[in-house]
């Protein structure tokens, strides 16, 4: 069930685009135009966005956050998540690796236009911030019965 959020295997063209863009990134450019707010691969924190006809779910993967430091705001269909994570260095220890992100972060995501900015929920669990935005009724596909 999780697979649907983590890959685009259902669409062979998407797979091809991904391969193309991954190859492009190896050479420092992408053959496809990037979103104006798109960020470099590997930017903290990584995000996945899933959609159903009823709602949009945004998942932000960031371990050990203080939820008080998080600022989530939505303007029409533009979702902004910012926050900070400070990692206090152990003073008497000698470091071999420091890969964990330390500092302020901000990510901006353009959601589909039919989202309802009045109905947004956010929760933080196991290091994942999940933001659920409901979509407007009118935009949902409706089954029309033929009599």
């Amino acid at each position: 069930m999780f697979e649907s959020l983590f890959n685009f295997d259902t669409d062979p063209f998407e797979q091809f685009r991904r391969l193309e863009s991954e190859v492009g990134q190896l050479h420092g450019h992408s053959p496809w135009p990037a979103g104006i707010r798109a960020v470099q691969r590997g930017t903290f924190p990584p995000i996945n966005v899933g959609a159903t006809p009823e709602r949009i779910d945004v998942y932000l993967f960031a371990a050990g956050l203080d939820s008080k430091s998080l600022d989530v705001s939505i303007q029409q269909n533009l979702l902004t998540i910012s926050g900070s994570r400070r990692i206090d260095a152990e003073e008497k220890a000698e470091y071999y690796r420091r890969e964990r992100f330390d500092g302020d972060f901000r990510r901006v995501i353009t959601l589909p236009e039919d989202v309802d900015p009045e109905r947004v929920d956010a929760k933080y669990r196991d290091g994942v911030l999940q933001i659920t935005v409901q979509r407007r009724e009118a935009a949902r596909p409706r089954q029309i019965t033929v009599s």
Binding site: S4, F6, F8, G50, E90, A93, Y95, Y96, D126, V128
Partner: protein, 132 residues
């Protein structure tokens, strides 16, 4: 340096072929530090709960594995994805002065902390230098 070899790549969100079969896995970002008594590994594994976490210590190796579990409504399709898999894996080579039988691990908000104590005879002792 005690954790001599790191079998993963330093990139946090890169997917690579796992050691087992062709399973792709995320490589958790880690901080590793040593004090006079122990070595501490802190690994980021957001989405992993205690029951989906596997920390294995052997005589000369430490393996960290986890499976992400998130609330996903039925019928979800991906609009955008930085992460392409739900598995985490990373391993390290340990050396003999570490007490692998006494490793402690704790998990909070997706952050795994593993503490590996050093054998008593290897703990650092400060040697006082006196001047004549």
């Amino acid at each position: 340096m005690t954790l001599k070899q790191d079998m993963g790549m330093p990139e946090t969100t890169a997917t690579v072929k796992g050691t087992r079969g062709s399973e792709a896995a995320l490589i958790p970002a880690v901080d590793i530090f040593e004090d006079s008594h122990q070595i501490t590994v802190q690994a980021e594994m957001p989405g992993v709960s205690k029951d989906k976490l596997n920390v294995q210590a052997e005589r000369n190796g430490l393996l960290i594995e986890g499976e992400m579990q998130i609330d996903l409504p039925a019928g979800t399709t991906a609009l955008y994805a930085d992460l392409h898999t739900t598995r985490y894996r990373r391993s390290f080579v340990l050396s003999g002065e570490l007490e692998t039988e006494r490793i402690e691990a704790s998990l909070k908000d997706g952050l795994l902390t593993v503490r590996i104590p050093k054998r008593v005879e290897y703990r650092t002792r400060r040697i006082k230098v006196s001047t004549a």
